[in-house]
């Protein structure tokens, strides 16, 4: 596409309108998810260059335990909790506002067995025996904090940085900043472990105020990977091709008198890309050629781990195929939410993800992918030391654990800490905004400079509040 620019853009808007002789070029580059960096490098709007430093990670796999996994029973060991079990929260602790109002309920003991693991001696409970074998690869952040006390606000916050909707998801920011490496696949893919609806629905992976180009695309774990990917029933590939050819012919006659409108051309490309995606996406997710050994590494041979194992394997496949950001939901529909009977509920869920996650880490490592792939584990918040309904725990957004592995993050360490009962983050408190900023940092993006201009405001993922965790 030839392009003559006459003026320097004075705003992003103008750039969008002018670059490549009209909006269409941007529509097209956005469509192909070329990184803004690249289009800036081509000499068009240098003022839009997104500053980068040397990235440590290229891709992200975000393992989202939806509903709020208990840090107190998994990765944040609190011996004092069992000593004080049955008593009320000591007076020295500030009473939190909790979703169910359990500030004054007795403390609930942790029934897990804890061990120090690996060379590093990380404390990990017996609910994550398999993941524990990778202790020396994990950076366990014990001082996470979020602003959402309920699931809606919490999940939205963990995804977009805000408790209410309307902002782009982390995956959207990443694909906005880095683009995709395979234009026949979406840059941001989401896979759930069941038909359950993730709290707030599809907007969790929405692009908010950004163009829909950056929104996450939901893949199904089995069957047709993307909605509407298959031709309608009874329509053969041949018939689909003929249709597209007719469409192309009609469009090009129409467009021939309007060659200045490059957006029209972008639309034609859109249909062609869709057609190619129809061919490519099923291949990317076809697990039939994976060996038995691989399948069992992920726990696909056992009923309780089969689903999440398959999703973890799909995640690896998608990353290999150039997808930038994969988000896997475990317990879609707040199933990690254990207000009562936490032993049983968490026990089952931990079992369903432990082996698959360990398998994913081993597999990525064996293939040399772990270095460039940042794996993140966590939920929208943790759970309280106080009990609820006798044997459950309430939401705790004031202090909880997430961990990272790969992506150049040194493992075998803990970062930050909660108080002695795991209620509040006390050391190196890492708010969701900081977490997001740090993730972008690992991907080579400066969160203060990855800006999207919306309604006159230079918007950042962290709403101008985040700081990169230096220790990462």
């Amino acid at each position: 596409m030839s392009c003559q620019r006459f003026d320097q853009p004075s705003s992003r808007r103008e750039f969008l309108q002018n670059a490549g002789c009209g909006f269409g070029a941007v529509a097209l580059s956005a469509l192909m998810q070329q990184p803004l960096l690249a289009s800036a490098g081509a000499g068009s709007g240098s003022s839009f260059k997104i500053p980068q430093h040397k990235p440590r990670a290229k891709n992200v796999i975000f393992l989202f335990m939806e509903g709020g996994p208990s840090h107190l029973d998994t990765f944040d060991y609190k011996p004092l909790l069992n000593e004080l079990a049955g008593q009320r929260l000591p007076e020295s602790f500030k009473r939190p506002i909790t979703a169910m109002g359990e500030a004054n309920s007795p403390l609930l003991e942790c029934k897990r067995t804890w061990k120090q693991r690996g060379q590093s001696g990380l404390w990990i409970s017996d609910w994550f025996e398999h993941v524990a074998a990778h202790a020396d690869d994990l950076a366990v952040i014990r001082s996470c904090a979020s602003s959402g006390i309920n699931h809606a606000g919490g999940v939205c916050s963990m995804n977009t940085g805000s408790v209410f909707g309307g902002r782009p998801s982390l995956g959207s920011w990443v694909s906005y900043g880095l683009g995709t490496e395979n234009e026949n696949l979406p840059a941001f893919v989401v896979i759930k472990d069941s038909e359950g609806t993730v709290v707030n629905g599809v907007r969790n992976w929405g692009a908010g105020f950004m163009p829909a180009t950056y929104q996450g695309v939901e893949f199904n774990g089995e069957g047709v990977p993307i909605k509407h990917l298959d031709n309608p029933k009874g329509v053969s590939a041949q018939r689909q091709r003929e249709k597209l050819d007719l469409l192309g012919a009609i469009n090009s006659e129409f467009d021939s008198t309007r060659t200045e409108n490059t957006e029209l051309e972008a639309r034609i490309r859109g249909y062609e890309l869709a057609y190619r995606m129809q061919a490519e996406a099923p291949q990317a997710v076809d697990l039939s050629k994976e060996s038995e050994a691989t399948r069992s590494l992920y726990g696909m041979d056992r009923e309780e781990t089969a689903v999440f194992g398959r999703n973890c394997l799909l995640a690896r496949r998608l990353i290999e195929n150039g997808v930038r950001f994969v988000q896997l939901y475990s317990g879609a529909g707040s199933k990690w939410d254990s207000h009562a009977g936490i032993e049983k509920a968490h026990g089952k869920l931990c079992q369903s993800v432990d082996k698959p996650i360990a398998g994913l880490l081993s597999d990525l490592k064996a293939r040399g992918l772990l270095e460039e792939t940042l794996v993140i584990w966590g939920g929208e918040f943790g759970r309280t030391p106080m009990s609820e309904a006798g044997d459950g725990r309430d939401h705790n957004p004031t202090g909880f654990t997430m961990w990272m592995a790969g992506g150049g993050v040194p493992g075998g360490r803990t970062i930050g800490s909660t108080d002695e009962l795991g209620l509040y983050a006390v050391e190196d408190r890492l708010h969701v905004h900081d977490l997001h900023s740090s993730i972008l940092h690992l991907l080579g993006l400066d969160h203060t400079k990855l800006i999207y201009s919306h309604k006159g405001r230079p918007e950042r993922i962290d709403q101008n509040e985040g700081h990169v965790l230096a220790k990462i």
């Binding site: 006459f6 808007r13 002789c21 009209g22 469509l31 009473r95 506002i97 909790t98 979703a99 169910m100 109002g101 006390i149 309920n150 809606a152 999940v155 909707g165 309307g166 979406p186 709290v199 707030n200 629905g201 599809v202 929405g206 105020f209 163009p211 829909a212 180009t213 909605k227 509407h228 309608p232 009874g234 018939r239 003929e242 249709k243 007719l246 009609i250 469009n251 006659e253 129409f254 467009d255 008198t257 309007r258 060659t259 200045e260 409108n261 957006e263 029209l264 972008a266 639309r267 490309r269 859109g270 249909y271 890309l273 869709a274 129809q278 201009s453 309604k455 006159g456 405001r457 230079p458």
Partner: protein, 1041 residues
């Protein structure tokens, strides 16, 4: 509290503040340059300099220090003890220490103290002198274009013949200045299409195309514009723009995303206001303060629904934060929407680029501080309310005794459930809730209102049947309910709930905002830059009058912001780009107007024309500027120097927006249902898009894929994206495919297809392309002339893969939670797997949202866990916990294939059971079989969006289709009297929904076949389907030129 600098008039001169003699001046200068400036530069500039201004403060010039930052002046010359700068560097207070990381050495602190004591001498060169004015605004800020009063420009004289109206004269002047030439007038076909999409959101009708074909005269164009503006379709289209701006939606938006059943009257109010050309000032005033202006008029009160649009979380126990979020949302939206300023930026600090003080943000917010969301008001006139109250009193009198008994039975348990809900709140709110309303201060009333809504919900969702334990109590409850029901005829129907807001009372809660130095309290007020004083606001009735005052200010004829903002928005929706391209941000980060004089001229004219939007539309539409063609050649120099068409040298082509695409597809397929107003319907049905359900968390798939906003925040400009997933949906999705098939079913030839979709015959090239496509398809298929669709000889036959798969009852009234289905039918086969042969349904098969609620009566298949041939009723509704409940209620009565049966199913949610009866009409010896089966669905069967369907589900699902005959069927609310139940359907009394096969479809009934089945093997039909689908996906269809 510190006085803020804004009210000082500060004129800083370059003359040092102390000393008379030149020597003294020099000494001061040396002291400053050698000792003071290095400290400031080394220690402070990084965060408080040209690049960054933490806390809104700069310290690289004296004027900035004296004006200060968010917390007021940082320095008072000569008075170190009163200078926060000194306080901060001394590290005296724990939360007010600078620099934040480490205290300065004592020596440096002493230098700064001495400097301030000396009067803070700061010798400056004239070049860097900054003149600060009132409020700390610079002349540059003060002179910024959007704050200037409206000018009164005269249309310039135009050369040549092109200009038709005054608008054109302004545009032509710019053309002349920049050396552009305007484009020629678009052809009639293009103009008709442009006008109808622009004003109605629809393609032109055949009649319009015919009436105006070839007409080039200005008079006929004008006539057409007038006609379109007078049509009710106009309001439906333009309401969509307003709905985007006010982030209207029909659900709460948080996880539960609860449906807002009473919000639609606001949407209708917008449509009706636009159609009636309600003056814009009135339109604004009603939305901001309708409750204060005409509290007794439901048609005005409903406008305050504007204040209810924020998202809301029904179970949020932190009500204080929730209320804060709600007020923030209203304030931000109001600032953008009416004033075109990004007020939101000034919530945490003075605006970085525009002269909006943090205090101004809270002055604006203070207008809304007294707002109370009301759940107790009705949309009814006084006389309707009186009538209702009278009947209600009668009913109450008649039922006093039985209700007292019910209360005695239930109230203790309801009390417990409410108490549980109460305990979720922390002590502070529990104390608040225990107070009498009169003891609560205004803020407590607002917060406890939010708490109480949750308690009311607990009461509303209490389920007696589940909660009563003993059989005796249960029996007693049943008996009392029965007794209560006897008086049902006395009970008046409910009045429409008013989803509105008023003030909490004549007294407002304080509006405070936090700065680093503590809290400040502010009174309502406008932009300090324009109106520094606090306006006097007289209370209105039981209301503070604040919002009326705000509305009056916004709608002042000389308000330079609001008048420009609205005319610019109208311009933007006509041209795709505003004269100010950033229509919700007129500030410094937005764009300056391309034609400032034209903008002011339009604004003045608009006010002079009585704030009439229709007159404004007409003035724009009659201009030559609007009527230009979009065509240009790729080598047009204007395309290179102004590719964005900022200077209007042609018409900018643009993709249709989501609602235009959906409505145009339905219009083209001949299915568009023009019913106006009322509750919203599912987007998969056939109403106009503006009437489809707008749930924030689950948007309609088509609309979402074409960039319709979800309604979380005000949207002034839609995105227009092109993504592969969008293409996949348009190519392979059921909904678009079905529209294409419908179009194809209406056309017999390629020419007709072109006319139907694009409103014109194909060109020679297109005709030959389509012919080649058809030839290829038909070659070898053995296809001959299509024969008319074969109709089954049997009336009322339903079979898969025919044109008679299902029968849709369009617009059938809802039967409610207690109803009866009676039918005479014959089943020809059962499903070989676990599919259900559906007799009738109001359900699409979903189980996970309120839209999916409904029911379905059918017969089980071979592999069913309920055994084959079982007559079952499937129910999806709310259970006693207000959770979504799905239940298969199996009668265990069997249907014999091949035999005629008389079937009755009486569904009762109030009694939580279904009573079935089945009689085999072909076996006279067979007795009537009966069954009564309990279930747990409590309510809302009718809340879903599926229409009543015979022979299948609302959404075509092949393993749920009836196979056989439905000779007659009726659905009646409530129970049918025993005596009226009859297999002889000719004796049925005409009811709301009644199907008699031999009487034919009649109005309201519509057969639905399988498009695929219909095309089955018919290569011609298949090819025509494809051609129509291609046309619906073509650029010509999807773009406006």
């Amino acid at each position: 509290m510190k006085t803020l600098a804004p009210f000082l008039l500060l004129l800083v001169s370059a003359v040092p503040h102390y000393g008379a003699g030149e020597d003294a001046g020099r000494a001061a200068s040396t002291f400053f340059e050698n000792e003071v400036r290095p400290i400031l530069a080394n220690r402070c500039f990084e965060c408080h300099g040209e690049k960054k201004q933490k806390g809104g403060l700069r310290v690289d010039q004296l004027a900035f220090l004296k004006t200060g930052g968010d917390t007021g002046p940082a320095l008072v010359p000569g008075k170190p003890e009163e200078s926060p700068l000194i306080e901060a560097v001394r590290y005296g207070k724990q939360d007010f220490q600078m620099p934040p990381k480490e205290k300065l050495p004592e020596k440096e602190v002493a230098v700064l103290e001495k400097w301030v004591k000396l009067g803070a001498p700061w010798p400056e060169s004239n070049a860097s002198k900054v003149v600060m004015m009132e409020g700390g605004f610079t002349p540059e800020q003060r002179n910024f274009w959007c704050f200037q009063p409206l000018s009164n420009p005269l249309p310039p004289k135009a050369q040549g013949e092109w200009a038709l109206t005054n608008i054109d004269r302004f545009v032509a002047a710019k053309h002349a200045e920049l050396g552009f030439k305007p484009s020629r007038r678009a052809d009639t076909h293009e103009l008709l299409r442009r006008l109808t999409f622009d004003l109605h959101g629809l393609p032109p009708t055949e009649a319009q195309l015919q009436a105006f074909a070839g007409e080039q005269s200005p008079a006929s164009y004008e006539r057409f514009v007038d006609e379109l503006l007078a049509s009710p379709r106009y309001g439906e289209r333009w309401a969509q723009h307003w709905i985007d701006l006010v982030r209207y939606a029909e659900s709460d938006g948080y996880n539960a995303d609860e449906y807002r059943p009473a919000v639609w009257p606001y949407r209708d109010w917008v449509i009706e206001s636009l159609n009636a050309d309600k003056p814009y000032d009135r339109f604004v005033r009603e939305q901001l303060a309708g409750d204060e202006i005409e509290p007794g008029n439901p048609n005005v009160l409903i406008a305050t629904s504007y204040l209810r649009n924020p998202i809301y979380e029904w179970n949020q126990v932190d009500v204080r934060s929730q209320w804060d979020i709600i007020l923030t949302d209203i304030t931000d939206t109001t600032g953008e929407l009416f004033l075109g300023l990004s007020f939101g930026c000034a919530r945490c600090h003075n605006h970085k680029f525009d002269p909006i003080l943090q205090k101004d943000y809270f002055r604006l917010r203070a207008f809304f501080a007294p707002v109370q969301w009301r759940d107790d008001l009705k949309l009814a006139t006084d006389s309707e309310k009186e009538e209702h109250a009278r009947k209600q009193a009668e009913w109450e009198a008649a039922t006093a005794d039985v209700r007292a008994k019910l209360d005695a039975l239930l109230e203790p348990m309801i009390g417990k459930s409410v108490a549980r809900a109460t305990r979720r709140f922390n002590d502070e709110f529990q104390v608040m809730m225990r107070k009498e309303e009169v003891e609560r201060d205004p803020l407590e009333r607002q917060l406890s209102n939010l708490c109480m809504r949750q308690l009311t919900r607990a009461r509303r969702t209490f389920d007696p049947v589940k909660s009563l334990k003993s059989d005796a109590d249960k029996a007693r409850y049943a008996e009392l309910s029965e007794e209560l029901k006897k008086h049902e005829h006395l009970k008046p129907g409910p009045l429409m709930e008013a989803f509105v807001a008023t003030d909490v009372g004549p007294q407002a809660p304080p509006t405070r905002f936090k700065t680093r130095k503590g809290e400040q309290e502010v009174a309502p007020g406008f932009l300090t830059l324009l109106e520094p004083g606090d306006p006097a606001i007289p209370p209105v009735g039981n209301s503070t009058g604040r919002r009326t005052a705000l509305a009056n200010w916004i709608t002042r004829p000389d308000n330079q912001l609001s008048t420009r903002v609205i005319v610019n928005r109208v311009w933007q929706y006509h041209f795709g780009r505003g004269l100010v391209a950033t229509s919700s941000d007129f500030g410094k980060l937005g764009e300056p107007p391309s034609h400032p004089e034209l903008l002011d001229w339009l604004a003045r004219r608009f006010v002079a024309d009585g704030w009439s939007l229709k007159k404004l539309h007409k003035a724009i539409l009659m201009s030559a500027t609007y009527q230009q063609t979009s065509r240009t050649s790729a080598d047009d120099p204007a395309l290179k120097s102004d590719p964005g068409n900022k200077y209007l040298w042609r018409f900018s082509p643009r993709r249709l927006d989501a609602e235009q695409v959906r409505d145009a597809m339905l219009f083209t397929s001949g299915e568009l249902d023009f019913t106006a107003g009322g509750p919203a319907v599912d987007g998969n049905l056939l109403r106009r898009s503006v009437y489809t359900i707008k749930k924030r968390n689950s948007q309609n798939e088509l609309l979402r894929s074409l960039d319709a906003p979800a309604g979380f925040s005000s949207t002034s400009e839609r995105q227009s994206t092109t993504t592969p997933t969008q293409a996949l949906f348009l190519l392979n999705g059921d909904w678009p495919l079905n529209r294409a098939r419908k179009v194809a079913s209406r056309v017999k030839s390629v020419d007709e297809a072109w006319n139907a979709v694009l409103g014109r015959p194909p060109t020679a090239g297109e005709r030959s392309n389509a012919a080649a496509f058809l030839d290829k398809r038909l070659a070898g298929s053995g296809w001959r002339e299509p024969s008319p669709v074969e109709r089954s000889s049997e009336a009322g036959a339903f079979h898969e893969k025919t044109e008679h798969e299902r029968l849709l009852a369009n617009n059938a009234p809802k039967e409610g939670d207690d109803f009866t289905v009676e039918a005479v039918l014959r089943l020809d086969s059962v499903d070989a797997a676990a599919g259900v042969r559906t007799i009738a349904s109001r359900w699409s098969g979903g189980k996970d949202s309120i839209e999916a609620f409904g029911w379905s009566l059918g017969v089980t298949g071979e592999k069913s866990r309920f055994k084959p041939r079982n007559l079952i009723m499937q129910l999806v509704g709310e259970d006693e916990n207000s959770n979504i409940g799905f239940e298969i209620v199996a009668s265990n009565l069997r249907i014999v294939p091949g035999h005629r049966h008389h079937v009755v199913a009486v569904v009762s949610c109030s009694e939580r059971c279904v009573r079935f009866s089945v009689r085999d009409l072909d076996d006279p010896s067979e007795e009537i079989q009966k069954a009564e089966v309990p279930h747990a669905i409590r309510s809302k069967l009718g809340a879903g969006v599926s229409g009543l369907t015979l022979g299948g589900l609302g959404k075509r699902t092949t393993n749920q289709l009836w196979d056989g005959l439905i000779e007659a069927l009726r659905v009646v609310p409530g129970d049918i009297a025993e005596a009226d139940v009859s297999a002889d359907f000719r004796a049925w009394k005409a009811g709301p929904v009644q199907w008699i096969a031999t009487a034919g479809e009649g109005a309201g009934w519509e057969w639905n076949g399988d498009g695929k089945g219909a095309e089955g093997g018919d290569a011609f039909r298949q090819a025509m389907n494809d051609i129509c689908q291609v046309l619906l996906n073509s650029n010509e269809f999807l773009y406006l030129h």
